[in-house]
């Protein structure tokens, strides 16, 4: 059973979004993934996600300009769901 955790950082100034994302990732339970609502692409975040063993997918959002899906690299179920665009619309 997968569960989506939504994190809206669209109204935070740099570097708060990155810190909030890292804090939220540290609290993810197995089967959970993060859906980050952002207003700009968080390039400094990506190498950290890589190093920490996460995969991400960035796409245009509905409420905010961008949405970034982040999940553990080993969780193939979540990966398949997100890659197939099978995530609930906001």
């Amino acid at each position: 059973m997968t569960k989506e955790i939504i994190l809206d950082v669209s109204q935070l100034e740099p570097c708060e979004p990155l810190q909030r994302v890292l804090e939220a990732l540290a609290q993810l339970s197995p089967g959970e993934y993060l859906r980050v609502l952002h207003r700009m692409e968080p390039y400094p975040l990506y190498p950290i996600l890589n190093q920490q063993g996460y995969i991400w997918q960035t796409q245009p959002g509905q409420q905010t300009p961008l949405e970034i899906f982040i999940w553990p690299a080993h969780d193939k179920e979540i990966e398949e769901m997100i890659k197939n665009d099978d995530v609930s619309s906001l």
Partner: protein
């Protein structure tokens, strides 16, 4: 504009911009000391050498110092133009800029032409390297054509004009041309310096930092596309007309109308910025926002004074009109914007470099909790410094409006505000070094370090 290109890999070493940023407060302290030392006689004449010393301490040692550091920082990350050997280049540029600004101002202060010449030589060399290198990077290597990069190009061209005119004026002065120096060249020099080099770069940087750090809506692309090129073109047309009117080939009112239009252009920028700030998404107190609002207010006041002087000539006959106009523009407009930017850029760079350091050093499991931006320079301290500066510069304005006995108090408070600014910035550096030491210490056991 967005943060898309602000990557960790492209950002130059922290020491590259920091050496410029951390030197700037010293020139603010020196300028305040000059006000204190000279006292009232400083305000006697706009063209006195002491006033030239003061203006060059501020415009070269403080404003241009910060702007050079900012350009060296922003160029690689925003334009994708990597500067070769950034540490070596910034060392030389910083050295020339610091010693040149000191020598030129000292030469003016003690009326010593050889020291003025030495200052010109050092500044000329430094600016030549800066213009050549940054110009090369922007033309040959710069990939992006974003509004900020376009603004950088025009600001750099303006700097070229400013420096050429400055060197020309210095040469005239060192060849015993009587003071006041030819007004036409002097006005061109200061207009290209303040409106071109400083003004256009501030506009370009605002496109980036106002929406990003103050969480405002973006500047309209319709505005950002044409605004800086139009202002630059207006400056060129104004310069030609101003020069022609000096030789009576054109009536004087033509360059005056053009200068008013130019001033209104900057007024439009200030008004749009204030409008965007009033529509910011996150309404939290922020010292950078306060500094920017004061700066935009100062800019609008200076524009009103300038246009007021053109349409109502008795205003310009007020004995301190020139000094008041310069003080409102530089002290009330530009310096608040520069200080506001320092309070945002410095904590951000400290955090960015610590993040980079951690990324390179840490194992995948262990990450140190990095200080956030509000911890790097605490709000409370930044606010104290902001109010101190605001009181100091207001009192200085008061002395120009007739409250001359306030000059010592104004000089003292301004000096304390720059000391406090220096303390806040060096505290950020100290925090960076201590956290970096902690990160490295985690990787290398103490016995092996």
């Amino acid at each position: 504009m967005n943060l898309a290109h602000l990557t960790l890999e492209q950002t130059p070493p922290l020491s590259v911009p920091f050496r410029f940023f951390l030197t700037a407060p010293f020139f603010g302290i020196l300028a305040s000391l000059l006000i204190l030392y000279e006292g009232l006689p400083l305000l006697n004449h706009r063209w006195s050498l002491e006033v030239l010393a003061l203006t060059h301490l501020v415009t070269l040692g403080l404003i241009s110092m910060v702007m050079m550091g900012a350009m060296l920082q922003l160029l690689p990350v925003l334009a994708g133009a990597l500067i070769p050997r950034p540490r070596l280049v910034s060392t030389f540029l910083h050295l020339f800029q610091t010693l040149g600004s000191l020598s030129l101002s000292l030469g003016f202060f003690i009326h010593h032409k050889k020291i003025i010449f030495l200052g010109m030589l050092l500044l000329g060399l430094g600016f030549l390297i800066f213009l050549g290198l940054i110009g090369y990077c922007l033309i040959k290597r710069g990939k992006a054509n974003s509004p900020i990069v376009i603004a950088m190009r025009f600001a750099l061209l303006s700097l070229g004009f400013t420096v050429s005119l400055g060197l020309g004026l210095g040469t005239l002065f060192s060849h015993d041309v009587a003071l006041p120096l030819p007004y036409t060249l002097t006005h061109l020099h200061l207009t290209w310096g303040l409106a071109g080099w400083v003004g256009l770069l501030i506009i370009g940087v605002a496109y980036q930092v106002v929406p990003m750090f103050q969480i405002t809506p973006h500047y309209s692309p319709k505005l950002t596309r044409w605004f800086v090129p139009s202002l630059f073109l207006s400056l060129i047309v104004w310069s030609v007309c101003y020069f022609l009117s000096y030789f009576s080939f054109l009536p004087h009112f033509i360059p005056q109308i053009l200068s008013s239009l130019l001033a209104l252009g900057f007024g439009l920028f200030a008004s749009v910025t204030l409008y965007l700030q009033s529509h910011r998404l996150r309404r939290l107190p922020d010292v950078t926002l306060n500094y920017w609002r004061v700066g935009m207010g100062g800019l609008l006041l200076a524009i009103s004074l300038w246009i007021g002087g053109l349409v109502w000539s008795p205003l310009t006959s007020y004995s301190n009109y020139d000094l008041l106009l310069g003080s409102v523009l530089i002290g009330g407009g530009i310096l608040p914007i520069i200080q506001g930017m320092l309070y945002k850029i410095i904590p951000f760079l400290v955090w960015l470099h610590l993040q980079h350091c951690q990324l390179k050093a840490s194992t995948p499991i262990k990450l140190i909790q990095l200080p956030h931006m509000k911890q790097i320079i605490p709000d409370k301290q930044a606010y104290y410094q902001f109010w101190m500066y605001l009181v100091g510069i207001s009192l200085f304005g008061g002395t120009l409006l007739g409250l001359s006995s306030l000059i010592e108090v104004a000089g003292t408070i301004l000096m304390l505000s720059f000391l406090f600014l220096g303390y806040n910035l060096y505290r950020a550096l100290w925090l960076y070094l201590s956290v970096r030491h902690q990160i490295i210490g985690q990787v290398i056991p103490s016995g092996q370090s």
